[in-house]
């Protein structure tokens, strides 16, 4: 046993799969950016920057987590942005009844969307792309309907806004939530049988069925989880900005997909990592953060539009790199 755990450690250091290679890549780049930022900008590693970075980006980390699980099964969830927009409104509307009402109400609304997605995909056998595209349109519509097309103030009489704005043990509450979700997600994927099932379904649905695995239930589970996490992100959104934001969330699904892909999870499913997804989300967010600092230096000035272009280019490079590495492996 000792001998094998020793060889496991050695083996873990040598990337022998695409996933490990991608994971190594993304973590290296994150550290490189960290060092770059620390050397170039005075306040980059200040606790203020780090904490506000985490507070704001925890929402994106949450939806990226849900998206990662869906993509590992070979599916996709385009509805997470719309769901977050809708649940931010729901949470804001419920916030006068106490923070638990806002929190649970928002999460429940997200869960419902996720379950509907899962049922449409598994029972009606609609392509995930189409099913969740429909859900995306519907949830944006619902967000606008519920809010009357304007942001809905959250109640400051209850503790609701604390969920987004306060700290716990000197750490932002949204970051705590994201960390907790990632820990649970990691255990589920890497240590619990359900994780093996998720990846096996992504490896081949028909095969998984022939192996006697419960494919339908697995798929329903990941879409429900993705909806729930998007709901939670919506709650944090409303709490952080003190208002439900029906027009926020546009493009969030793309951010989430980008994070997952950068983290080495294949869009075809069957391969993926929770930790690398988190690293992917941090990486993309950090590109933004650095560009903001760069603007602050006053040497160059990049508009938000340019930032988006740069991020897109970054994503493309990573995906091309992945494809190259894959080809290299399959022809060996």
């Amino acid at each position: 046993m000792q001998e094998s755990s020793h060889s496991n450690i050695v083996a873990a250091l040598i990337p022998r799969s695409n996933l490990q290679l991608a994971r190594l890549c993304v973590i290296t780049v994150v550290f490189a950016l960290l060092i770059f930022g620390a050397l170039r900008y005075d306040n980059f590693l200040s606790s203020y920057n780090i904490l506000s970075f985490l507070r704001y980006n925890s929402m994106f980390m949450l939806i990226a987590l849900g998206m990662a699980l869906v993509i590992m099964t070979g599916g996709i969830d385009l509805s997470v942005g719309g769901t977050a927009a809708m649940t931010s409104v729901v949470a804001a509307l419920l916030s006068p009844y106490g923070w638990p009402a806002g929190l649970l109400g928002g999460m429940a609304a997200g869960l419902v969307v996720g379950i509907v997605n899962g049922l449409v995909v598994t029972r009606l056998r609609i392509q995930p792309f189409i099913a969740t595209l429909a859900a995306m349109l519907a949830t944006y519509g619902m967000a606008l309907l519920l809010s009357g097309n304007q942001s809905v103030s959250a109640s400051y009489d209850t503790a609701f806004v604390s969920i987004g704005q306060d700290d716990f043990l000197g750490f932002p509450i949204p970051a705590w939530i994201a960390i907790a979700c990632y820990v649970v997600g990691w255990i589920a994927l890497e240590r619990h049988p359900v994780g093996r099932r998720i990846l096996a379904v992504g490896d081949g649905e028909a095969t998984a069925k022939l192996m006697g695995l419960k494919v339908g239930r697995t798929l329903l589970g990941v879409y429900a989880t993705s909806g729930l996490l998007a709901g939670l992100a919506g709650v944090i959104l409303a709490a952080q900005f003190g208002a439900g934001q029906p027009t926020e969330g546009v493009g969030w699904e793309l951010f989430a997909i980008s994070s997952v892909v950068v983290g080495g999870t294949l869009l075809s499913g069957g391969v993926g990592s929770i930790g690398a997804t988190l690293a992917g989300a941090i990486l993309l967010a950090m590109v933004f953060n650095i560009l903001n600092f760069e603007n602050g230096l006053g040497v160059i000035s990049l508009s938000a539009y340019w930032q988006s272009v740069i991020r897109g280019a970054f994503l493309l490079v990573v995906v091309i790199l992945q494809a190259k590495l894959m080809n290299g492996r399959s022809t060996r």
């Binding site: 046993m1 099932r197 096996a200």
Partner: protein, 498 residues
């Protein structure tokens, strides 16, 4: 008796695929199950494993009547199936694949140490010492198959179904697999072995069940049946009244159009040589898996050849894609009309002219008049029965659909037409008509390479027949030598007793 399936009937819509089929297996026995394409083997197996349900009939397994509702149920009941394309998760590790769905747990989580140890233990029984933490896809086919078997064994399988397990294995790997089957046999595990490689059946099986047209037509101990009898029973006889006349010449008289020399690619086509003369119908015979379609695809450049040469008019061809072969005057009518042939919702006219549309263009627009003239010509020439050229092709009978596909190629004026199972799924009368049509086309100078599983068809229509066995061209029969006995013995790859 471990397994007894009796009186199994199954229909899909109007089509009866199993008609009073039966299958019995004793404990520890290795039973061969053979039959041509469409004989009903896989349907019978799917009914046994719960993938399909039977209409009527009785299945007893380990003394109890069973009716499995899903593959998961039959697995739990003690039946493990190893498919041709190994149905495991390639990206998961060996250990995970063996235990997917029933991982050993500790505190609700996967007990990985125990899972890995258990995996090593079970693989050691098959003398397989591999790193169980590596993804399955890192291993060769035989190892992956062994992992699939190990998965079955850990589910306490009493019956192993091996569906063409050797089709992608080389000789050494087959030997390893057989060793595994023998190990299990010693433990009393029975196996149903589906394969078209007769030598393998004789090497490993105790008895054979032969199916034809949805029926179980014979059960025999392996040692009491000869290869030729096995093949004859499997193929049966098609009683069709073909009136097609053979050309007087049969061998070597016509100038050669195509010469295939020592063609090979992968394990399916090992070494095939054949020739097709101008205006000849050359037959290509062999059992399923002998490499007939694969050979044709190499000639047509649908797959890439690795060895040997294809010469047309004495010049070596170097096609890189079917488009080159088409440009050089070849046509290919696939055996699978539904998937590779017709576009069901399109009309007869559209289907027929799909391939020549570029030639029918005038200033970028399809010349409707020219198109209609061609379509009407072939409808008349081939006797295609349709209400009008605008009728959707899916409404036509199989024979008429086939004629439309032939017309699609004929209007490109090919020199060589490759037809793969041209009469499959066509009723007897229409079969004779298709063959007659091919003959008259040959008389007009077209060369035809006809792949067929039906001996009568080859005997009636071909000028000469090349017989393939296990990727090798083993015999060439010409004119009056094309007889049932000669074909059978060549397909079984056995010398005719003197």
């Amino acid at each position: 008796m471990l397994l007894s399936m009796t009186g199994i009937n199954k229909s899909f819509g109007d089509v009866r695929v199993l008609d009073d089929a039966s299958l019995q297996v004793e404990p520890g026995e290795t039973m061969a199950l053979i039959g041509q394409n469409g004989a009903g083997k896989s349907t019978l197996i799917k009914i046994l494993t719960g993938a399909y349900s039977h209409d009527t009939g009785r299945i007893e397994f380990q003394g109890r009547e069973v009716r499995f509702g899903s593959t998961a149920e039959s697995q739990a009941g003690g039946i493990a199936t190893i498919y041709q394309e190994i149905n495991l998760a390639p990206n998961r590790t060996v250990a995970e694949n063996i235990f997917l769905g029933r991982e050993p747990r500790r505190f609700g989580l996967v007990d990985r140490a125990r899972m890995q140890a258990d995996a090593r233990t079970v693989l050691r029984r098959f003398k397989l010492d591999i790193d169980v933490n590596r993804p399955l896809q890192d291993f060769e086919a035989a190892t992956r198959q062994m992992v699939a078997i190990a998965r079955g064994v850990t589910q306490n399988a009493r019956l192993l179904i091996l569906d063409e397990p050797t089709s992608s294995l080389d000789e050494r790997e087959v030997a390893v697999l057989f060793e595994t089957i023998r190990t299990l046999k010693a433990d009393g595990v029975a196996a149903i072995f589906i394969s078209h490689r007769l030598d393998e059946l004789f090497a490993i099986c105790d008895r054979v069940t032969i199916m034809r047209d949805g029926r179980t037509v014979a059960v025999s101990p392996m040692k009491d049946i000869s290869k030729v009898d096995l093949v004859r029973t499997m193929l049966g006889k098609e009683l069709a009244a073909f009136t097609a006349k053979k050309r007087a010449h049969g061998d070597g008289e016509g100038a050669a159009l195509v010469d295939v020399e020592n063609l090979g690619a992968g394990v399916r086509v090992r070494d095939v040589s054949l020739n097709i003369g101008k205006g000849e119908i050359a037959g290509l015979a062999g059992l399923l898996g002998a490499g007939r379609t694969e050979t044709a695809r190499l000639i047509y450049a649908a797959d890439r050849k690795e060895r040997g040469a294809v010469k047309v008019d004495g010049r070596e061809t170097n096609y890189s894609a079917p488009a080159d072969a088409i440009a050089d005057g070849m046509g290919f009518v696939s055996e699978d009309r539904k998937i590779e042939g017709i576009v069901p919702e399109m009309s007869v006219r559209e289907n027929m002219t799909l391939a020549i549309l570029p030639k029918l263009q005038k200033a970028g627009i399809v010349d409707k008049a020219a198109q209609r003239a061609i379509v009407e010509k072939y409808i008349a020439a081939l006797g295609i029965k349709c209400s009008s050229p605008e009728q959707p092709i899916r409404e036509l009978s199989g024979g008429n659909q086939q004629k439309v596909l032939l017309a699609r190629w004929l209007c490109m004026n090919p020199r060589l037409l490759i037809v793969d199972e041209p009469t499959r799924g066509i009723d007897v009368g229409a079969k004779a008509e298709i063959l007659k049509l091919l003959r008259s086309l040959a008389d007009e100078g077209l060369s035809v390479l006809m792949i067929s599983s039906e001996l009568e068809e080859l005997i009636a229509a071909a000028d000469h027949v090349t017989v393939l066995s296990d990727g090798l061209s083993v015999r060439r029969l010409a004119s009056e030598d094309i007889t049932e006995a000669n074909l059978l013995s060549a397909m079984a790859h056995q010398e005719v007793p003197a």
